[in-house]
Symmetry: C2
Amino acid sequence: MNFRVHVRVVPRAGLLDPQGQAVEHALSALGFAGAKDVRVGKAIELSVEAASKHEAHAQATAMCDKLLANPVTEDFLVEVEG
Amino acid sequence: MNFRVHVRVVPRAGLLDPQGQAVEHALSALGFAGAKDVRVGKAIELSVEAASKHEAHAQATAMCDKLLANPVTEDFLVEVEG
């Protein structure tokens, strides 16, 4: 079966996120003063061939560990559709 | 109230995504041959001050329209926690 997987990779809490700060300042300048604690990371979508939803999740987690996320500086979250 | 909002911004379907193609080739080289149709975009997390979950969603959508996403080349999805 084919599963659509959504991965979110964001800078680990506590680490400086200059891109997030830049976005926060820009939002504030546009009048969105209520926007705080902005973090900017990567959103990765992919299709995974797997026997079950659980196996698709495990495969995507392995991809994050090996390539998609930097384990020192980033956290990731894997969601499988369906 | 304070809501944590997750925004996903990805290249619009049909548009070329060179970063996604590069990730797909890298995954294939690492042995993840089952990974297809990879799209890479931005994952943005932020806290929004709003009276309700619905208002937080509307504010975040306005932020995407004005700053976070390029309406010509990107699609976005807003999710509000809680």
